[in-house]
């Protein structure tokens, strides 16, 4: 019998830290080529339609930005949470809360129109996301409740509330009783960045702005220092006079606000009305994006784009090669596996313990 142990490396190589994303990419390409060959597809054209084809047309780049925007917005907020050791798993719920709060104006007051509507909607959406994120934060600080559970459970509450709202009070009276609200009026639509060539909307710009601001805060301000210190060692933070409770609220409020903003950007920019479901799980995918970007807001921009590309590539491969949607998702999993594995192996190494030393241990 052999045993495999994962041992922390005393030092990690700066060279391999820099190379790790590229090594991961190379391994992904090789594994992908093997996978597609087994499926009987030409691996070169499969990889082409996966990674390159979505980038060859302008409209498709627009779609990439649409898909990446909510992922980046949410992941940037989550990075603050995760760095400070607050495990907010409920961004999906905060996104929905923001989407609902931001939709109050166009749905309930459709005649209220003007340039000021959109800024108000964005503010309302952030307020909605923050309010919803306050619940797990309060429960954690006041009752020491596990925020992973409470924030996750609140996702289902938000989903069911949205469902009820869109089926009931907010249903479009002219909509044949289908569960949808009215289409938003012109002044409640988040405009396209460059309407002549595609439908990418200002959500992506908002995501970039949020990423830069949060990056600045984390790396250049006392607040950012506080987050990192308390995140690594709560005790050391207390000695420095930092309050863990305050920070929990701060982290949840930021990530709630950004998730809420992602919600209204999706509703008003990409869809144009509220529906019973407004997100295909962006709040959860963003957790992957946050870690893929190594909890660095600028890294998260890149990670969001990569993950968005893997969705679009999966679709392109379905059309050009008839690769099923399931294999496309497996491939997505392979990418994440290699990226995370390469990262892990920089900090840890695998030691194989043979039986001999094992018995020696038992004897001791």
């Amino acid at each position: 019998m052999m045993r495999i142990e994962i041992v922390k490396r005393p030092q990690h190589s700066a060279l391999f830290s820099a190379l790790s994303p590229f090594i991961a990419l190379l391994l992904t390409l090789i594994a992908g080529a093997v996978l597609f060959s087994i499926l009987g597809k030409n691996p070169v054209s499969a990889l082409y339609s996966y990674f390159i084809e979505p980038l060859t047309e302008v409209w498709s780049i627009h779609e990439l930005l649409i898909k990446a925007a909510p992922l980046i917005l949410i992941a940037v907020g989550l990075s603050v949470c995760f760095l400070s050791n607050n495990w907010n798993i409920g961004a999906e719920g905060q996104l929905i809360a923001g989407g609902i709060a931001g939709s109050i104006l166009p749905v309930v007051f459709p005649d209220f129109q003007g340039w000021y509507v959109l800024p108000l909607m964005l503010l309302l959406s952030m307020a909605g996301g923050m309010a919803y994120a306050t619940i797990p934060a309060y429960l954690k600080v006041r009752f020491n409740t596990n925020e992973i559970l409470t924030s996750l459970m609140l996702v289902y509450v938000a989903q069911l509330f949205l469902d009820w709202l869109v089926r009931g009070p907010w249903r479009n009276p002219q909509g044949y009783n289908f569960p949808e609200t009215v289409q938003f009026n012109e002044s409640a639509i988040l405009p396209a960045i460059w309407a002549e060539s595609g439908r990418a909307h200002w959500g992506f710009i908002l995501a970039l702005i949020a990423a830069v601001i949060v990056w600045f805060m984390l790396s250049r301000t006392l607040n950012g220092f506080e987050i990192k210190v308390l995140g690594r060692s709560a005790r050391a933070g207390r000695f420095a006079g930092f309050s863990a409770g305050k920070l929990t609220f701060f982290a949840f409020l930021i990530s709630g606000a950004l998730a809420g903003l992602a919600g209204i950007a999706e509703v008003s920019g990409a869809v144009g009305q509220l529906r019973t479901s407004i997100s295909p799980g962006y709040g959860f995918t963003a957790i992957i994006v946050a870690f893929l970007g190594r909890l660095n807001p600028l890294g998260i921009i890149a990670a969001g784009l990569v993950l968005a590309l893997s969705y679009l590539g999966g679709e392109a491969a379905q059309i050009s090669l008839g690769i099923s949607e399931k294999s496309a998702r497996i491939f997505q999993g392979i990418i994440l596996f290699f990226v995370l594995a390469s990262d892990t192996l920089i900090y840890y190494r695998i030691r194989i313990v043979s039986r001999l030393s094992d018995t020696a241990l038992k004897g001791a």
Partner: protein
């Protein structure tokens, strides 16, 4: 950056050059809400697609995208099909409606066909099926066979298409047994085998001895088999999953419609329309009546024949709503608009409609 883009574009044009000479074929695209292997809703659309390929042979080339979420993703998926040269695109779920209309505005030369919606345009046609006709026949059978006098109904979403079915089933059952009851459980999903199975188990535990479903997986049929009760299949013939359980199934027969519409595009006679077809046109087909005594089978066949000929319309008064108020007077029939926007139960349904 510019150079890179140019290089990529050139690479793309080379890669695509191979398929250019096949341009005289009509490319037909499909957007599916689930996987073709659901053996229900999407499976039947995919059967229709296969029939289209079989009958029109090398005149057509079909592509599909599966598991496309409704909302922002749908718009991208539809646009991708339009951009990759598909001239006829079928979007096969209600939730694709607005996305279909939006993409259609950008591609005036592409014909779009949206299933079960209501928004049309010059290049957007709508096709819908009178599934409720089959539900009426199911109701008749259920009331004849049930010993407890209660049927279980697994609903997907409380939208008109599903509510229509519940009401029609109820009316069919009441035509045999005026005291018949229906219990409804909402799965809140079109395809979720685990949830559908749980719903089926809960219904059996509540004393129903016949199950019908408006969700797309075969899980309820399998639960019914295990619990030794009877069930109706949904969208496709599910007899394989319950050889001693399935009474019949409403089979969505999309194939002929897909063939007809593709031919129309090839001939240049395609026009937008809004059709609502049922047994009479052959869109709703009943799977063989099995696992029932001959007299029930005979009654089912007679009911089916009457609906097919138009002699029997399921929504004909006198019908009371669930709250006891009158909906249709004796002899009055509901018009299509009322049917397509139905959001209330008829008397006798043991459930409160979520709204």
């Amino acid at each position: 950056m510019k150079k890179l883009m140019m290089a990529l574009t050139m690479a793309a044009s080379f890669a695509l050059a191979g398929s250019a000479h096949a341009a005289d074929k009509l490319k037909v695209g499909f957007i599916y809400i689930g996987p073709p292997g659901d053996f229900g809703w999407t499976y039947q659309h995919d059967q229709g697609r296969k029939q289209l390929e079989k009958e029109l042979g090398d005149k057509v080339e079909t592509t599909f995208l599966e598991n496309v979420p409704e909302g922002a993703d749908a718009e991208r998926a539809i646009e991708r099909l339009a951009r990759s040269g598909n001239k006829l695109i079928f979007t096969t779920s209600f939730g694709y409606m607005d996305a279909t209309v939006k993409v259609a505005q950008k591609f005036p030369n592409v014909k779009f066909e949206h299933a079960t919606g209501y928004k049309t345009a010059d290049n957007v046609a709508v096709y819908n099926s009178r599934f409720y006709e089959g539900r009426y026949v199911q109701g008749v059978i259920a009331a004849k066979l049930s010993k407890t006098g209660v049927a279980g109904y697994i609903g997907s979403f409380p939208i008109p298409e599903v509510v229509e079915g519940i009401n029609s089933f109820m009316l069919g059952a009441q035509s045999v047994n005026p005291n018949f009851k229906i219990k409804v459980i909402w799965a809140n999903s079109w395809f979720d085998p685990a949830k559908e199975a749980d719903a089926a188990k809960a219904l059996v535990d509540q004393g129903v001895d016949i199950i019908t479903q408006h969700t797309d997986s075969t899980a309820p049929m399998q639960v019914a088999s295990e619990r030794k009760i009877k069930a109706f299949g949904q969208a496709s013939d599910m007899i394989k999953f319950g050889p001693e359980t399935q009474l019949t199934s409403i089979v969505d027969n999309w194939g002929p419609y897909y063939v007809e519409r593709a031919k129309a595009v090839l001939d240049g006679t395609w026009k937008s329309h809004n059709v609502f077809e049922g047994m009479h046109e052959g869109l709703v087909v009943m799977a063989p009546y099995t696992n029932m005594p001959d007299d029930v089978k005979k009654l089912a066949e007679e009911t089916q024949a009457k609906i097919t000929s138009g002699e029997l319309k399921p929504f004909t008064g006198p019908i009371k709503k669930q709250d006891g108020s009158e909906w249709l007077k004796a002899g009055e029939t509901a018009d299509d608009k009322t049917i397509l926007s139905m959001n209330f139960y008829v008397a006798g349904v043991d459930d409160k409609l979520p709204q």
